[in-house]
Every structure is written in C-alpha cells, then in structure tokens.
C-alpha cells in the first residue's frame, strides 16, 4: 500500500468527524431526554438558551475529536470500510432518535 496523501487523510478525517458528529448528536439527544428532560414545550414561554444549538455545537466538538481518529486510521488502514460503517451507524441513530425521541 502506498502512503496516502495528506490531503486524502485530511478529507477522510473530515468525513469521519462529520459522521461522528451526527452520531454524537443522536447520542446527546438520547442523554438529554433520559437525564435532563425539558419542561413541557406548551408550558414553556421562554428559554434563555437554545438546546438545539448547544447540542449542535457539542456534537461538532465530539466530531472534531473523532476526526483525529479518522486521520490516524486513514494513515494505517489500506481500506476505508470503517467509514461506511460509521456513516450507516450515524444515520440509523439519527433516524431512530427522530422517530422515537424527538
């Protein structure tokens, strides 16, 4: 196997980070619903913070961490099947959350 180019590794890192961010978003939503339930939206007149935006920011942070792992894997593994698996897992998790725990 020839060494992957830095640009290729960076692109793979970005892709894995983005997919991991989707997975992290779904996981954060589940944790929120389980341990930090918000008040009934019909009764909540105003909230200072947007939980959606904070969840998005935190999931992007988690995705950033995963991107480093993706960069390392891209340099070590000749194949990239793990990326497909990661994307599939992330999409499944997000759809499940949207269906069951919006």
């Amino acid at each position: 196997m020839s060494a992957p180019r830095p640009a290729e590794r960076l692109l793979l890192a970005g892709a894995s980070g983005l997919a991991a961010a989707v997975l992290a978003y779904a996981a954060l939503r589940v944790v929120e619903r389980a341990f930090f339930p918000e008040p009934n939206p019909a009764l909540l007149i105003w909230s200072e913070r947007s939980t959606f935006l904070w969840r998005a920011q935190e999931s992007l942070y988690a995705g950033g961490l995963a991107a480093f792992g993706g960069y390392a894997l891209a340099g070590r593994r000749p194949r990239a099947r793990w990326l497909t698996a990661l994307i599939a897992t992330a999409v499944s998790a997000l759809v499940l959350v949207a269906l069951l725990a919006p």
């Binding site: 913070r49 920011q57 935190e58 942070y61 950033g64 480093f68 960069y71 390392a72």
Partner: protein, 338 residues
Amino acid sequence: MRRAASALALGAILLSAAAPSHAEPGPEARVTAQQSFDRAEQAFQAERFAEALAAYREAVAADPSARFVLTARARAADLAAHAEGDFAPLARLSIVRRDPTKLRDRAVIEALARDVAAFPPGRVRGEAELVIADAWWRLGEPRRAVGPLEAVVADEAGDRLTRSLALGELARLQRELGDLDAALAAVERFPDLAPAARNEVRKLVRRGRLRTTAIALLAALGVVGLTSVVRATPRVGGLGEIPRALLPPLAVAFSLYLGGAAAVLVRLRGDGDPRPFVWLGLGVLAVFAVARAWRFGWGVGGPSARAARGVICAAGVLAAAFLAVERTDASYLESLGL
C-alpha cells in the same frame, strides 16, 4: 331501634345548636388579659421565666380572642418546653446567651460548660452545649467545640431538631479541621439524624478516596514513563529524539483541541469554568507520552500486554480527568454523584 338512634342523634344536634355560645369577654377581662400579657413580657425580659409562663397562661385564659394570644401561646409553649430544673438552667443559659461580650469571654464559656454538666436532661442542656460550641468556634478554638457538639448529638433525651443541627455542625467542623474520617464516623453513628449531612460527608469521603487513587495511579504512570524514557532513549536515537518520538504532532494537536475547544465552548456558554478542560487536555497529552515511552522502552508486546497497557493508560486518562475537575471546579462532579 334504628329510628330511636336517629332520633337521639337529631336531638343531640339540636340541643348543641341551641346551647348558648361561649360568652365574649367583657371589657374588664380584656384589660386583665392585656395586663397579664404586659406582666409576662416584663418578666420574660427580666428572665423570671416561671412568672412569665404563669402570666402568659393567665392572659390567654382571660381573653382567648385577644390580638396577642398567638404570641402568648407560642411563648408559653416554648417556656414550658424549657422548664426543667424550675427554669434555673434556662436562666443560667440566658445570662450568657443574651450578652455578646460574655459570648466572647473564655472564662464565662468555661464556667457555663462546667455548669451545663449538672443540667437535668432536656432541651436547655442541648441548647447550652450548642452555644458553648459556637462560642469556641468564634473564639478561634474550633477543636474545643467538638466535645459539646458530640454531647448534643449523643443526648438521646434531647430535642431531635437540635441534635440534627448539632450533627450537621459537627460534620462541618470535622471537615474544616481536615478530619473527614471523624466526620464520617459521626454521621454514620446516627444515620437517620441528619441524612443530608450524611450524604454530603459520604460524597466527600468517596471523592477523597478517588483523589488518592487517581494521584497514586498517575504517580505510578509517571514512574513507568521515566523508566521507559531511560530505556527508550538509545532505541529512538538519543535524548534529542525523545520529544518527537513521544509527542507526535497529531497527539499534540488532539490534546490542544480536546482542552482548547472545550474551554472555548464553555466560555461561550458563559456559566462554566474552562480550567478543567485545559488541564484535561494537558493530562491526556502526558498520559499519551507515557504510553509511547512505555511502548518504545519495553517493546510492543503481545495482545494481552498491549491490552493491559491500553487499560492502564485509559485509567490514567480518567484519573487525569477526575483530578482536572476536582482540583479546579468540583461542582462538575456533583452531576455524576461524585
């Protein structure tokens, strides 16, 4: 039979309705009640407690509808609850409690402590011990407050609320004196007396044990790291090559991101302390360096060796994370029950 019972019940209801209502007190009774109340207040201020109790009761009896009746009833009930020894202990305590200068006088506190030993069982004894404990604490001799507080807690004849308060104060005092084991022993001896204090102390003990374990683990990793660096130096090509070998750019970038980005997020959020995340990033970098040194110094090893190394270093990361939070802002641990 049923009809007879119903008729009797109806008759009783009618009779009670027809009975004359309690007579309103006349003007003389109101005046008497007011005078009794005034006399009671004066006696209470002058610490003639027996006289005050009697006068409060007279005032209530003379005019039960007077505006001061609630106050009089409350004071009478309180005095009756502190009546042991014909009010002598209460009078003795009041001499000290009402005078701030006496509360700052060591000789007065010591004299009170000697007299308290002879007090009969009851509320006054417990309250007096609390006053003594509080006085010693304010006089800068907190260790002398331990005895009185323990006495209140152990006094099974004392008021439960007073004992609970004393146990909470005793736990707090022991913590301030740095004796967490003594605080734990105190709250565990009477587990139902102050559940909140017990949970708090248990949490602190748990945190202390975790802190000790984390420090020990990181110290052990540090020793492993140092010995590994010594062994690895010739293998990587000299001491000058050690930084590059142990801290590859990716690891440094990851640690900076881990701590830095999280700190930025916390700052943006506005209500958190970013320091734990900065220390976490540095801690992770250090553990990573130890892991690399270990690998270079002792070889890659078989699967089980690699797994063991991985588990130990992962534990090191957790230890670093725990210490980073516990040393900077322990409130983050509250949500984890630590």
